[in-house]
């Protein structure tokens, strides 16, 4: 216990520093993947994408990120093991942050496939199992998390098939795609707005002290979600109606104007992607930081129920914005250039499917990889014969990222864990 009280300030400072580092990595790399599809289809500029990312990543993290933060903070490890040695948990979480941050930095500069989620989970499991003991890891929960990594892309893919097929039936392959796009697109936006709002109200807000009461009863939540959905669909309807269509553009390719309408709505889907990403991935940086903070502040009380102070979220949000500003915008531009083959209608279907899946994962508190979910969604559109060519080698890369990232995060975390232990004392 003395270790914690003696080093109170330095431990907090380290946690903030490492948390910022990790969040920076998320902003520099991960956000660009989430937003790249919108940029790539030419619907929004990099600048707009960054503004959207800043606002909605933040909103997602604050309003809906609580459940995943809780998992990363205390779900992966069995807290009871640490009751007599809370300082080990503090070292471990610091080591995990540092390791995941480093891994992001190394891997993305070399060009290896990375996932922030996988690296932080690998790191926490690694230090827990090796540094403390096999029993320290809540293997049941870890199993669920790993299963969610398989299920989430599959779910997103399935959803994408359904969304795209329905778009095809209602809009794309009808006699009057343009009119039908104007008529039906707001409806799709309504559903997404409704789902995201409902999930946020039911699960996310209970972690936000001042808004807790809103999510208490189902009817109220439903009402609010419907209202949010309606507002979102009105915005969509306005956007769609304001887009200028030019019949001459359809001379060469008769769907040019319809794609323009979808393009206008990419702003909306980009917002939902950023929100979804914020609700899930930001927790990777915030979770360990929150764990360190609550233990240190309570003087070593593992079971402390303290709520997340808002400045911790600011660290997460700030780090991401910093990452975006320094590197993320470049990555976003590169990615955007790489996926010009994705037309707005396809991007629309894929992003809606991905955002919904990620938000649902956030609801259950499962840390998933937004990038992999998005890959699943895009493949879904491909299976529905919506895309000209998809390079399936990416699936190998995903498996590779599993095989490489998990142990890499773990090994580094173990090294840092012992280093911190040596530095501050066992």
């Amino acid at each position: 216990m003395d270790i914690i009280t003696q080093n109170h300030e330095i431990l907090i400072m380290l946690a903030i520093g490492f948390g910022l580092f990790m969040a920076w990595g998320v902003g520099a790399n991960d956000v660009a993947n989430a937003m790249g599809t919108s940029v790539g289809s030419g619907a929004i500029t990099v600048k707009q994408a960054i503004i959207i990312a800043i606002i909605f990543e933040f909103a997602g993290a604050v309003l809906a990120g609580g459940e995943v933060t809780a998992t990363v903070r205390k779900g992966i490890l069995d807290a009871s093991i640490f009751v007599d040695s809370p300082h080990l948990l503090v070292y471990g979480m610091l080591a995990a942050l540092l390791s995941a941050g480093f891994w992001l930095l190394i891997a993305s500069s070399v060009g290896w496939p990375v996932s922030t989620t996988h690296s932080i989970v690998g790191a926490i499991v690694g230090f827990g199992a090796v540094g403390v003991g096999i029993d320290a890891v809540a293997w049941g929960k870890v199993g669920t998390i790993v299963a969610s990594w398989v299920i989430s892309p599959l779910l997103a893919g399935t959803l994408a098939v359904f969304i795209f097929k329905s778009l095809q039936k209602r809009i794309i392959s009808t006699e009057t795609p343009l009119e039908n796009a104007k008529r039906y697109l707001p409806f799709y936006v309504f559903i997404v707005g409704f789902v995201i709002a409902l999930v946020t109200l039911l699960k996310g807000l209970k972690h936000v002290e001042s808004l807790k009461h809103l999510g208490k009863d189902l009817p109220t939540s439903m009402m609010i979600a419907v209202i949010v959905g309606i507002i979102a669909s009105i915005i969509a309807a306005v956007i769609v109606r304001r887009i200028k269509t030019n019949p001459e553009d359809d001379a060469d390719f008769q769907y040019a104007n319809m794609e323009k309408l979808f393009g206008g709505l990419m702003v909306v889907t980009a917002c939902s992607m950023a929100f979804a990403h914020g609700s899930n991935d930001v927790a990777n940086a915030i979770g360990p930081l929150a764990a360190v903070y609550s233990i240190v502040e309570s003087g070593g009380d593992i079971a402390s129920k303290s709520v997340l102070p808002s400045w911790i979220l600011l660290v997460g949000g700030g780090g991401i914005v910093f990452g975006l500003a320094t590197f993320g915008f470049k990555v976003m531009r590169t990615i955007g250039k790489g996926i010009t083959e994705l037309t707005p209608s396809r991007g629309f279907a894929a992003e809606l499917a991905a955002a919904t899946t990620v938000v649902l994962a956030s609801y259950t508190g499962l840390p998933v990889s937004t990038t992999q979910v998005l890959v699943g969604a895009v493949l879904g559109v491909g299976i529905a014969r919506g895309l000209a060519s998809l390079n399936l080698r990416v699936i190998n890369r995903i498996f590779l990222s599993w095989i490489v990232t998990l142990p890499a995060g773990a090994v580094m975390a173990i090294v840092f864990f012992y280093a911190l232990k040596g530095l501050f004392g066992a």
């Binding site: 095809q168 790489g338 083959e341 491909g382 998809l390 390079n391 399936l392 990416v394």
Partner: protein, 225 residues
């Protein structure tokens, strides 16, 4: 920052290159019409320059073919089978190859068809060009097909074009028959070697229409995945 991102997922669409290739192939055949006119007038200088131009276009089509093939690794997931796509490409390419060979044959032999079949031969060329133009039209529908994810509505459009192609091909068979009948009547008074090559020219020309028809039917298979 290297390619560890989602953009690695997106391959280059083979549709535009396939269309470019068919366009090039069609231009070859179209130009053969001018070649045959120059040859009929025995303007061999002009014919030679057109033959060179055909050869250049055939070469360009070859390049497009190679490039498309190179960009089509087997790890690509496409809305149609890779095999079918490559088949369409090869059949398209054969149109340019035949045209080039035919122009070469007529050039080296300074072939002038007997006056009795001269006009019908020009007619046959026109029908073949028409058939390949329809095949190009069908191939050009591929972007629309992809955009609608191969909906029935759009496939109907392509089916109609393919019906048109089949009609033209049938027409070309008829014209070929006429020429053969006329040539047969001339056999006794014409040097046999010349005769042989007249038949061959007609045969090759007819093959371009056959190939154009095959492009259509292969395309049908490709869409019906």
């Amino acid at each position: 920052m290297a390619r560890n991102d989602i953009s690695g997922l997106f391959g280059k669409s083979p549709i535009n290159p396939l269309q470019q290739h068919m366009k090039q192939v069609h231009l070859c055949l179209k130009e053969f019409g001018n070649f045959a006119k120059a040859a009929a007038k025995q303007d061999w200088e002009k014919a030679e320059s057109i033959r060179q131009s055909i050869s250049k276009k055939e070469h360009k089509a070859d390049e497009l073919k190679k490039k498309l093939r190179m960009n089509l690794p087997s790890t690509f997931m496409m809305p149609f089978s890779r095999r079918d796509l490559l088949d369409v490409l090869l059949i398209q390419d054969s149109i340019a190859n035949i045209t080039k060979d035919l122009a070469g044959l007529m050039m080296t032999r300074h072939m002038v068809l007997p006056v009795e079949v001269s006009q019908t031969f020009q007619d046959l060329i026109a029908v073949c060009v028409k058939t390949s133009a329809a095949a190009l039209e069908a191939i050009n529908e591929l972007d629309e097909l992809l955009e609608t994810a191969f909906s029935h509505r759009e496939r109907k459009v392509v089916d109609d074009i393919i019906g048109k192609i089949n009609g033209f091909e049938h027409e070309s068979d008829g014209v070929q028959h006429q020429i053969r009948d006329a040539l047969f009547a001339l056999e006794s008074n014409t040097p046999p070697v010349d005769m042989m090559f007249y038949y061959r020219a007609v045969e090759w020309l007819g093959e371009t229409a056959d190939a154009a028809q095959k492009v259509g039917s292969r395309l049908e298979v490709m869409l019906a995945k």
